[in-house]
């Protein structure tokens, strides 16, 4: 028999088949969860867009008043909210977002607020100081958690613990395309859309600018973090689905290849046997 024995090939085929079953199951789970996650993203998008538009417009039109949320300070300490997955086997999902964040963190005095087990593990491995490890399970983080987180971040920003706050997440462009990106949360960019349509900033704030901003900014942060989380969760599932789909296809290919080898080995064995019989009869 040539090379590997038939039995060895059979064992390998069997192991490939069970791997294929697992990847297939994971793909199917990811697909069904993805549908929910995608719905959540599309449902919540109007909220974030409105929230974002309104707050940036306030920041742009509001020239007479300067809140600490708008003030650019000298950057000593930055905070990154990093959203990654809880589990691996999602293609480049975790790697991509963590790589991007690592690039941006380079040379900065930074703390990270990790969301998701992979983000937390990454911080531990690279000795990056973390704000809290309360959100280690991305799947368990609720809207309420996002608002609590935002309140704490806004407070820390006001007190000067952080001079800038960013969020790093994965944008869910489509089922096949997910792009990691970072967004600046605080301070609010005042120059953005500086030439807004209304321009004059004649807006009535009740009961007062300070009070309104004080109440709205944590809401705004919470909303954006929650939005980023929704996007990230959908991205993770999308990435996992694609990765598992590819893995299943590879497994199928390998099984086909091994089957061919197996048949060849079997044929070889039969031929050899016949040759032996024939050689025996001729004598």
């Amino acid at each position: 028999m040539a090379g590997v024995s038939m039995k060895d090939i059979k064992i390998r085929i069997r192991s490939m088949e069970s791997t294929k079953q697992i990847t297939k199951a994971m793909e199917m789970v990811a697909t069904s969860q993805l549908r929910h996650a995608q719905e959540k993203v599309t449902r919540s998008r109007p909220y974030f867009e409105t929230l974002y538009e309104t707050v940036t417009e306030i920041a742009a039109t509001n020239k007479g008043y300067s809140s600490e949320y708008f003030t650019q300070r000298q950057v000593k300490q930055v905070c990154y909210v990093v959203i990654a997955g809880d589990r691996g086997l999602a293609g480049g999902y975790n790697h991509n977002i963590l790589k991007l964040v690592a690039q941006e963190l380079a040379g900065k005095q930074a703390q990270v607020l990790p969301i998701g087990k992979k983000a937390l593990e990454y911080c531990h491995q690279h000795d990056i100081p973390i704000v809290t490890d309360a959100y280690a399970q991305a799947a368990d983080v609720s809207v309420g958690d996002c608002f609590t987180m935002a309140k704490d971040l806004a407070k820390a920003f006001r007190q000067g613990t952080f001079d800038e706050v960013y969020v790093g997440y994965t944008n869910f462009a489509s089922i096949l395309v997910q792009t990691p990106c970072t967004m600046k949360l605080l301070p609010l960019a005042q120059s953005l859309k500086a030439k807004s349509s209304s321009g004059q900033g004649l807006r009535l704030y009740e009961p007062g600018v300070e009070t309104v901003l004080q109440a709205i900014i944590p809401e705004y942060l919470g909303g954006l973090i929650y939005g980023a989380l929704c996007e990230s969760v959908a991205s993770e599932l999308g990435a996992r689905r694609t990765a598992m789909d590819a893995a299943t296809k590879n497994a199928e290919e390998m099984i086909a290849d091994l089957n061919l080898k197996y048949n060849r080995a079997r044929q070889g064995a039969i031929t050899q046997e016949i040759t032996e019989i024939v050689a025996g009869a001729e004598e």
Binding site: S44, Y47, T50, L51, L202, I216
Partner: protein, 135 residues
Amino acid sequence: MATFHLQIVTPDGQIFDGQAESVTVPTIDGAVTILARHIDYLSALGMGEAKIERDGQMRRGACIGGMVSVTQGEVKVVATTFEWAEEIDQERAERALAKAKEALTHRDTMTEQELILAEAKLKRALVRTSIAKLR
């Protein structure tokens, strides 16, 4: 009556998108009613009842947190949660209320953070039950 474009959005989706004659929302400074042609306006939302009027019909809802803005006649209510009165599950709301009250009986053993959370829960439950009763 003159109408204006009103949009109510929450993280759970768009609740309302259309014309309205008046909208009343609970701001942190008390209830405010906005009619058409209002000046550009911004306020943060508290907790309470929201009312939307159109063609003599009124819809009520429980509105908690967020903000309300008027920009060139467009009114946007960006709420953390918003539920129409008819969609509130009264039994569930009552249960949540009872649970929140129960939780607050152990207030001396709670940390400050827990107390804040429990009180917020109670407030939310009160808002929802009172609005569910109104319909």
